[in-house]
Symmetry: C2
Subunit: 373 residues, 2 copies
């Protein structure tokens, strides 16, 4: 783990670079807005820790009213439990006895949910829970149109739910019904249509569960791009949004229901870089590259500097074009970048540097960084 | 830092996933081949640690005959010095007094080189070296066609070399003349033409240095895609290749001088994943996504499994299409992936799991992971 790039009280322009910066005012507003919305609609907010990777962020989401956290990996769940979080859904399949034993070990300290899409997974988790003497809450993941994990909605899902209900050490709790591909569809009508299909899939599965004498007390899904649709569907009980706390260019690129750029949440997350070279004519180079932000959704965008346009990213460099009327850079000038994709960007860093009123106010460990197992 | 995903002696198919796997036989052959080539031509191999991020790898490259290591960041240099490496070139500009003080601090334990492309950088490094009572070897970076950092070849470079030579605490050693953009040009003639331009730029600068009464004892550059051209140029004295030890899809996509896929080196680096779902028709899902490999050069490729074609990557998942004649997957099946780009992929992991004859033989810490400052 690297040392933090600043100390508490450090002025913004003296933060060492590259650094992952959190605008605490914007972050607080994002967290409060989603929590208030979920409360107003009467659904639970189960914020996704795969995005933030930090029990410090999780605690703030919980304090604001979240009912729990989602994770994708057992290692993330372990970090959250160490950080005091007591209600966690692994919104993913976990395969391997050693991983299931680790999950069962923390199930005596926290309420743990786990998703399934195959009977063998159910048997293995049942054995692990029984070995540890704990109960794990089982969710059937249904494929609501994403085309990744999940059984078909309806009868197949009810069959798997029955197996969970019958398995020692497991308790059938509900459905995982997340439509990831819908989150970034460019327009609101496209996202609406996709989620309407997901809602139908959930309804169809609920009916099949009823025939089997079961019911889903929890239906979990939704993300930052579509959360209002699931929340107001009457069938989803939990929202799994994660990016809402930070935003990124990928979400900024979709349009809202008014046809304008999606502005439900504010950019609170930045990679702070510094100018290390302007020897070339018409550009400067900053010290943050692909090891400081994730590039698969395209390059980051320069924040708050007129005439600075991000041109190219390499491993440790960002190249920025300067327009004729741009303020000429000086060596060491700080340049804030908005990353293309927040989740894998955060996973590159060990610390959030929380800034308020131009001063470092918080240093939060990203304690689940690299916890991919 | 995460725990290692296996113990020494663990059979390959019991390694926890995702894991960064090193085929030690292939790695050894790559390391030996480049070292032998450099020795045969009479140039120094200064392997680039920005790729491997590990003093364990550096030590093996040094044992095989490398004259030193390159880094891009002071944090990488610190990790290497802690790991016993005693000859390091920072092939980059370093801006900020705090960083320069850290670099000067290790210059009493190792021979340190540093690149410049602006007089202010020279002054700042001179002050830091003087404060610490050390000497730093100064390199003028020239832009040989890459269009990133570096002064113009010729007179401008000689002027900056003069400033270095005159600065207390600095010693003018030579030229940084790396052409990064040339490395991945698709065909050998294109790479050859680009590097011919770089060689001319070096020659022109050497002449200007001579007029100024200076000479470059070291000219450092070259990468895995072009190293033979620089090595045989008569003007380069050092090779800075890094990817050669591992290979990746980005280098596998270029063609060699015979017009066939570039095969100077073997793929030794893999991300090991496991099948966690095959509920969908025609595909399976593995547990390694964008937090286990870098995606900006495209998705990874499945290694050694007929009929498995990588389709899509998300944060924690890889989706793999299965042809009709593919062996049907079972839950937990291990699937090795060749990453698109080795450098940012390695930076996601804390350990190399070194495998020989199907068994884990080595666990090497990636001690400069995240050392981006």
């Amino acid at each position: 783990m690297q040392d933090p790039p600043a100390e508490i009280g450090c002025p913004f322009d003296q933060i060492d670079t590259p650094a992952l910066i959190l605008d605490l005012d914007a972050f607080d507003r994002n967290v409060a807005k989603m929590a208030a919305y979920a409360a107003s609609v009467g659904v639970g907010l189960r914020a996704h820790a795969k995005t933030h990777k930090s029990s410090e962020v999780a605690r703030r989401q919980m304090e604001a009213g979240a009912v729990g956290q989602c994770v994708q990996k057992v290692g993330e769940a372990e970090a959250l439990v160490s950080g005091g979080i007591r209600d966690i859904l692994v919104s993913n399949q976990v395969v391997a006895d050693a991983k299931l034993d680790r999950l069962a070990a923390i199930a005596s300290h926290a309420r743990i949910g786990l998703c399934f899409d195959h009977p063998e997974q159910v048997l293995a988790a049942s054995r692990a829970a029984s070995r540890a003497g704990v109960t794990i809450n089982g969710f059937v993941e249904i494929d609501v149109g994403m085309g990744r994990c999940g059984v078909a909605p309806g009868r197949a899902a009810a069959d798997l739910a029955n197996r969970i209900a019958d398995a020692p050490g497991l308790r059938f709790e509900g459905l995982q019904a997340y439509h990831g591909r819908a989150q970034h569809l460019p327009t609101a009508p496209e996202r609406e249509a996709a989620i309407r299909g997901a809602i139908q899939a959930v309804q169809q599965t609920r009916e099949a569960l009823g025939v089997a004498g079961l019911s889903a007390s929890t239906v979990s899904g939704a993300g930052t791009g579509t959360f209002r649709i699931e929340a107001e569907s009457g069938v989803y009980t939990e929202l799994q949004a994660g990016s809402y706390a930070f935003m990124d260019l990928d979400y900024a690129a979709i349009s809202g229901s008014d046809g304008r750029p999606y502005a439900e949440f504010e950019h609170s997350l930045f990679v702070l870089s510094a100018v290390i070279s302007f020897a070339g004519a018409g550009w400067c180079v900053v010290d943050a590259g692909l090891k400081s932000y994730s590039g698969e959704k395209g390059p980051p965008r320069v924040h708050g500097r007129e005439g600075y346009k991000f041109l190219g990213m390499s491993d440790e460099h960002g190249k920025i074009a300067l327009s004729d009327d741009a303020q000429p850079p000086r060596l060491g000038d700080k340049v804030a970048l908005i990353p293309g994709h927040c989740d894998p960007t955060i996973n590159l860093h060990d610390w959030y540097v929380g800034v308020r009123s131009g001063v470092v106010h918080e240093l939060w460990r990203i304690d689940a960084r690299g916890a991919s197992r």
